[in-house]
């Protein structure tokens, strides 16, 4: 290496350091930066939530959304969900993942993500009576039941046919029950629920069967903070 002008060793050393220092900054510059972006960086208008969801809860879920988003393009694909081991071992994991994606789409953005999760917000007492004229909140009892109904209703025709029930049952039990037994279980279930005789369960019949179940509690997820 040629040094210009200086002949003493200290000067040479100093010059070398001055040349190297900016380079080292550039190299390590990539190592800077916080690991988790926060919700304020994204434009969020979550009008379907109402004010009872706190900003910190939204921030936390956005943090979760970005940690699932391995491709870092602001949307989640089905593979991103399947990477969660506890979801992958859930027998109905695929049906639940499907619920996040609107018809025919393969990506879900944060708004869509929150919209689906909004069904699981606990029902507060003071919400029950307010705003009767507005649209029904996503976490009402009826909407929670509708979410569960859609898990059964594979072809989205608002009816659970015998075939659809069989397919979902097969997902839940795997190879442990024979076809005939499963068939008789499906027949019995439809027989008990069906009231208009079309051998399929409509949403109204579904609601009637489950009228005593504590849906508000069983289909709600509470935040710790």
């Amino acid at each position: 290496m040629m040094f210009c002008g200086t002949e003493d060793p200290f000067g040479q050393l100093g010059t070398a350091v001055l040349a190297v220092l900016p380079l080292s900054f550039l190299c390590t510059g990539r190592a800077w930066g916080a690991e988790k972006p926060l919700a304020r960086h994204a434009n969020l208008s979550l009008s379907f939530f109402s004010s009872s969801v706190s900003h910190s809860q939204i921030t936390r879920l956005y943090s979760r959304f970005t940690s699932l988003d391995k491709g870092e393009n602001g949307t989640l694909s089905r593979e991103d969900f399947q990477r969660i081991p506890e979801l992958a071992i859930n027998p109905l994991g695929d049906r639940i993942i499907n619920a996040f994606f609107p018809e025919g789409e393969d990506q879900v953005n944060f708004r869509g993500f929150m919209r689906t999760l909004a069904h699981f917000r606990p029902i507060e007492d003071n919400e029950k009576s307010k705003d009767q004229n507005g649209p029904e909140p996503l976490n009402s009892r009826s909407n929670k039941l509708h979410f569960a109904f859609r898990l059964y209703d594979l072809d989205k025709d608002d009816k659970i046919s015998r075939d659809e029930l069989l397919q979902v049952l097969r997902m839940m039990v795997g190879v442990n029950i024979s076809d005939e037994q499963l068939g008789s279980i499906a027949d019995r279930t439809i027989q008990e629920a069906d009231q208009d005789g079309d051998s399929a369960i409509s949403f109204a019949e579904f609601v009637k069967v489950l009228e005593k179940v504590d849906v508000e509690q069983k289909m709600s997820i509470r935040f710790l903070h």
Binding site: F3, F10, G11, G14, T15, V17, L18, A19, L21, S24, F25, T28, R30, A31, G33, A34, E35, K36, L38, H55, S56, T59, L61, R64, L68, I84, P85, E86, L87, A88, I89, N90, P91, L92, I96, F120, F147, A148, L151, L169, M172, V173, G174, V175, N176, I177, Q181, I185, T189, I201, L210, K212, V213, D214, K218, M219, S220, I221, F223, L224
Partner: protein, 455 residues
Amino acid sequence: MFILLPFDSLVVNLLGISITVLFTLLLVFIIVPAIFGVSFGIRKVYMKTLLKIFQWATLRIERGAKEKNHLLYKPYVNGIIAKEPTSLEEEIKEIRRSGSGKALDTPEFELSDIFYFCRKGIETIMDDEVTKRFSAEELESWNLLSRTNYNFQYISLRLTVLWGLGVLIRYCFLLPLRIALAFTGISLLVTGTTVVGYLPNGRCKDFLSKHVHLMCYRICVRALTAIITYHDRENRPRNGGICVANHTSPIDVIVLASDGYYAMVGQIHGGLMGVIQRAMVKACPHVWFERSEVKDRHLVARRLTEHVQDKSKLPILIFPEGTCINNTSVMMFKKGSFEIGATVYPVAIKYDPQFGDAFWNSSKYGMVTYLLRMMTSWAIVCSVWYLPPMTRQPEEDAVQFANRVKSAIARQGGLVDLLWDGGLKREKVKDAFKEEQQKLYSKMIVGSHEDRSRS
């Protein structure tokens, strides 16, 4: 290029002098004590000063946030949603109980059963136990590193100045110092072990080899400014045993090997790592495998057994998790090292992420970037506990033994004990787990074989 430097020769001279002073300090205060295993306690004082500064910084941020009437983003390590630890059967029975007054003992299917799977699934989407172990732990209070700050807009001017000072110290003073130390340590290791390798086998060679290894690891410890506290040193691994520890980063090796003389196990790499490995094995019988041999489990087991049966050979150092986990939990131990039949010496390593998070997120950072991040943090602070030795009892198999050792390590280190496999970082979960869930559920619908044959 150098002609263009518009600096006065005086400034340049000053810089040169300070570099020389730095290197002299380095030699006297760091390398010489490392050679003799002595410590001046400089690092502990440094750590205490830093802690005070961090506490002050956190208070300032909280004050700043309160003035603006905002809530701070506070990370919570215990999860963000309330999860009940009930089993599949209990949950489904409860759902059915609320739905109808029918007898609960008869197994049958109810439409409401789906609520259990649905809610469980959504809970894991919001917060699961496994994926968060593969990214760095979030800190509760700020440690003046931009990489861990989630509340940028609450920093006052004073705090920014302090942070700037921190950057200057870390990048302009500590980083060159540490790189120089690391360079010294590694070159001493390579040359030292090569030289010792030429000696004839015998007690002299072993003695020298041990001290060369220890000396170089101690220099590397200082290169990272690692402040390590060893507990229960009377339980240190002995010859003919296997030392197992939880794995957080490649630094674990340096942490353990600077306090004891181990035989390493691993795969031969190319490049600089390979040079170091080949030099080390000349002085001391480490167990290195070729890449092709690693897949052959029987070969690996046989070579380890041979090593362990020779009672004069050094204890083997193994990390049974197989991959780096973020030090908040201990994941499944692979049973290979527990089948060999030697005494197992468990070691728990817990890092304090306040001073620098040691976790290596290998999918995000390569080795060089990771080392640079380590060398530009404040320090690596960790505690090492040597647990009493364990042997496999006659009535337990290798998997149960591995789980027992894992629980002991988790308990000592204050880590969460998980049954999940660390390999889930890259691979999909096995179908067998889903089939287990399906089996459990089918019992609820049709009962088990015994019930059916009775009715």
